[in-house]
């Protein structure tokens, strides 16, 4: 009996202790995140006595990063954070997000008040979503006139995209690129469609795009390009395709209203729907479309950029090649004139406002180290994109890719970088409306009707 009581008491104590342990599990060195840590590839160098003391007062910060180039590669990121820790004494715990579940993790963390100190992504999340809802720190004090001049010298739209309508800057930009599409050069050659593309300038007209798809379909008697619409992944590709084909719009210039219900977009969607070689495919998203293209199943991909050109399908099987060794050529989207407006990607860092000034200061030190110092070259090269500024504290960034012919060739597309409309209010809901609209077009619904209905729903979401 006595033994039974002792066991019962011990069990109860053990369970109670485990509950208490659950409640305090994240107050360890260098991390204030309450997000689940299992499966995390975090790295924490906290407690290293050889590091110099931190000037900000915080000994460690947390960074969550989306897969931006090799910022998804633990070894590559560790080299950068180790350099930062060696210089500042501040340890960095890194967690890697993907585009499928990343938003859910961040949203859950916001709800549970367990956000990281730093996050790496683009203005559509940092500015238009989390910044607009008051979760981010205004980084305006990090920019002086020299910084702004260096960034504006590359593209004046960059700072505009990183700035919210109230003037607050919620993203410190690091890299940028123009999203494009890609073609399987060998397949085009076999189908006699290579005559329709300007391989020198990587451009083509709408008329030639239609002829090329016809030629490919005649040759392969199968779908050669997919308007993928399973989800939001890679949706900039389908937007750019539809908007460029006949010069349609997506938002107004002020980024306050969605304007897809444009006769030019209706014409483009009807054209795409009528093409035998093009399928509206709700079983594919951008990532799966890239895989199908890489495997040689599709002959063109609408979701592409320089990172894919350097490492197709992230498969490490060689730049500019499909799995079977066929040549991949990146292309601008087709338009009536051949000069299209490409969707851009601008990636950088934002700081979540966790109310701890020491950690905010440490995070700003990290941003300064990565985005505006002699180390910026490494941070940019890790991302495999282009620097958003000409120089960083005296280090020239304009020629860092001179030794890479693929990157050098890709700069031909940069002048086509169009309006960064992803910062329009209600963006998360609007892009959902977009792919739902494509699904309905694919199932045979009237294009004008569904375009109008989903545009109205997106604008309703933007209005709150």
């Amino acid at each position: 009996m006595k033994m039974k009581k002792i066991i019962a008491a011990a069990l109860a104590m053990a369970m109670a202790l485990s509950l208490v342990a659950c409640g305090n599990g994240n107050k360890d060195n260098g991390s204030q995140s309450k997000a689940p840590s299992s499966g995390s590839q975090g790295q924490n160098q906290g407690g290293d006595q050889s590091n110099p003391p931190s000037s900000s007062g915080a000994s460690g910060i947390t960074l969550w990063t989306y897969p931006i180039g090799d910022w998804k590669d633990e070894n590559a990121v560790k080299a950068l954070t180790d350099a930062f820790t060696a210089e500042t004494g501040i340890s960095v715990k890194v967690e890697y997000l993907d585009y499928t579940a990343g938003d859910d993790r961040v949203n859950t963390a916001i709800t549970a008040e367990g956000t990281p100190d730093l996050i790496m992504e683009g203005p559509e999340r940092l500015v238009a979503n989390w910044g607009a809802n008051g979760h981010m720190v205004d980084l305006k004090d990090m920019f002086d006139d020299t910084d702004l001049a260096e960034i504006n010298a590359v593209n004046e739209g960059i700072m505009k995209a990183c700035t919210y309508s109230n003037g607050a800057i919620y993203e410190y930009p690091l890299v940028m690129t123009a999203h494009c599409m890609a073609i399987n050069k060998n397949a085009f050659e076999e189908a006699g469609a290579l005559q329709y593309v300007d391989l020198e300038n990587h451009t083509w007209t709408t008329e030639n795009f239609i002829k090329a798809v016809e030629a490919l379909y005649s040759k392969y008697n199968a779908t050669v390009g997919a308007v993928f619409c399973a989800g939001q992944g890679g949706d900039q590709g389908t937007r750019a395709l539809v908007n460029n084909l006949y010069g349609g719009t997506f938002t107004n210039a002020e980024h306050t209203q969605y304007l897809w219900n444009d006769p030019n977009n209706i014409k483009a969607l009807e054209q795409l729907k009528s093409m035998k070689g093009i399928a509206f495919d709700p079983s594919l998203d951008g990532g799966k479309e890239i895989t199908a293209f890489y495997q040689g199943i599709l002959k063109m991909a609408f979701c592409w950029n320089i990172a894919q050109q350097l490492d197709p399908n992230s498969a490490k099987t060689g730049a500019e090649k499909t799995i079977s060794g066929e040549d991949i050529v990146f292309m601008s989207f087709p338009s009536e004139t051949g000069e299209s407006q490409l969707c851009g990607g601008i990636w950088g860092f934002g700081i979540f406002d966790n109310g701890d000034q020491a950690r905010i200061d440490a995070s700003k030190q990290f941003i300064k180290f990565m985005c505006d110092s002699a180390h910026t070259v490494d941070a940019v090269k890790t991302a495999n994109y282009f620097a958003v500024r000409t120089t960083a504290e005296g280090t020239d960034l304009s020629n860092i890719w001179a030794d890479n012919p693929i990157m050098a060739e890709y700069t031909k597309l940069m002048p086509y970088l169009g309006d960064y409309y992803q910062v329009t209010t209600g963006w998360a809901a609007a892009r959902t409306e977009w792919w739902n609209m494509l699904q309905e077009v694919g199932t045979g619904s009237d294009v004008a009707t569904v375009l109008a209905a989903h545009e109205a729903a997106a604008n309703a979401a933007a209005a709150g």
């Binding site: 008491a9 509950l19 495919d281 079983s283 809901a429 739902n436």
Partner: protein, 299 residues
């Protein structure tokens, strides 16, 4: 037994239960009340407070005007109505066919049918996705090979086939446990009653329905309730395979709850609205379970 001794016995029992009770209250009972209360508010992700503005039954009124929710509810009922009877009937059939086999064969069958249950949802869906693939899937290849189809079918991308595909996967992952339970229940049927019925001239069918079936009723009731609840809560397959598409053809209430709570974060009061859906779903599950209990009791 003296009262003091009884008290000590009770205390020991309660102490053993305490850890589970703490988890049950903390992670089931309290969240349940939070869910009910939040469903009456306009809570959203960006609120600093746990509960937003109290709006009464507004979320519930809005729910029944929401076409996507109605479609999700309809799809959920289709899944329940199709999958519950088929799972029960198939499990009973397989259980009846294998329960008399020798131990080795019986164990092998139990393993085979239970394998999809213990395999993770992600692994299961990855394999099924390959099979259903529009371009390289084995299903299209096989059907084209035998001349049943000429063009590939986009199984998960066509509104006509997508929900059926989900139900097939749900079926394969749901039959394992009922089969094991039926094998066990059939093994426990009183053999003297069976022998008596056979001596009285009962046919095999009569023995099954008049003697075995009534003795298996508690097991059947358990299987019905569990399968119904699992079917109502179908989420992982939808999330991993179709995300509710194409054109909401595979939206279920559970998926729409997740979508509203974690994707529509810019919509005012999205947490409250998602919780209202959760309350409605719980009410439907409760009603269905009560009906099943009542019918089984009458039997």
């Amino acid at each position: 037994m003296s009262r003091a001794l009884q008290w000590r016995e009770d205390l020991a029992g309660y102490l053993f239960m305490l850890p589970s009770l703490i988890f049950f209250v903390g992670f089931v009972i309290i969240p349940m009340f939070i869910c009910i209360f939040t469903s009456l508010t306009a809570t959203n992700m960006h609120d600093a407070a746990m509960f937003g503005q109290f709006i009464g039954l507004e979320n519930f009124i809005k729910l029944f005007q929401d076409k996507v929710f109605q479609k999700g509810l309809l799809n959920t009922f289709i899944i329940v109505i199709v999958s519950v009877p088929t799972v029960c009937a198939f499990s009973l059939w397989v259980g009846s066919a294998i329960y008399k086999l020798n131990n080795v064969a019986l164990s092998a069958f139990r393993c085979i049918f239970y394998l999809p249950v213990v395999t993770g949802s992600v692994a299961v869906t990855v394999v099924w996705r390959w099979m259903y693939d529009n371009y390289t899937g084995i299903l299209n290849t096989a059907l084209k090979g035998v001349g049943l189809i000429e063009q590939n079918i986009n199984w998960l991308g066509d509104p006509k086939t997508a929900l059926g595909c989900i139900i097939v996967i749900l079926f394969t992952t749901s039959v394992g446990q009922p089969i094991v339970l039926y094998v066990s229940a059939l093994g426990n049927v009183d053999t003297t009653l069976i022998e008596a019925a056979e001596v009285d001239g009962a046919t095999d069918m009569q023995v099954f329905w008049k003697v075995k079936w009534p003795q298996m009723m508690p097991t059947t009731l358990y299987i019905l309730v569990i399968t119904t609840i699992n079917s109502f809560q179908c989420f992982a397959l939808i999330q991993l395979l179709t995300q509710g598409g194409p054109s909401h053809a595979t939206d279920t209430v559970m998926y729409y709850i997740y979508y509203t709570a974690f994707k529509l974060t810019e919509q005012a009061g999205h947490f409250g609205y998602a919780n209202a859906m959760g309350v409605v779903l719980a009410i439907f599950i409760g009603i269905m379970s009560a009906i099943q209990f009542r019918l089984a009791k009458e039997k």
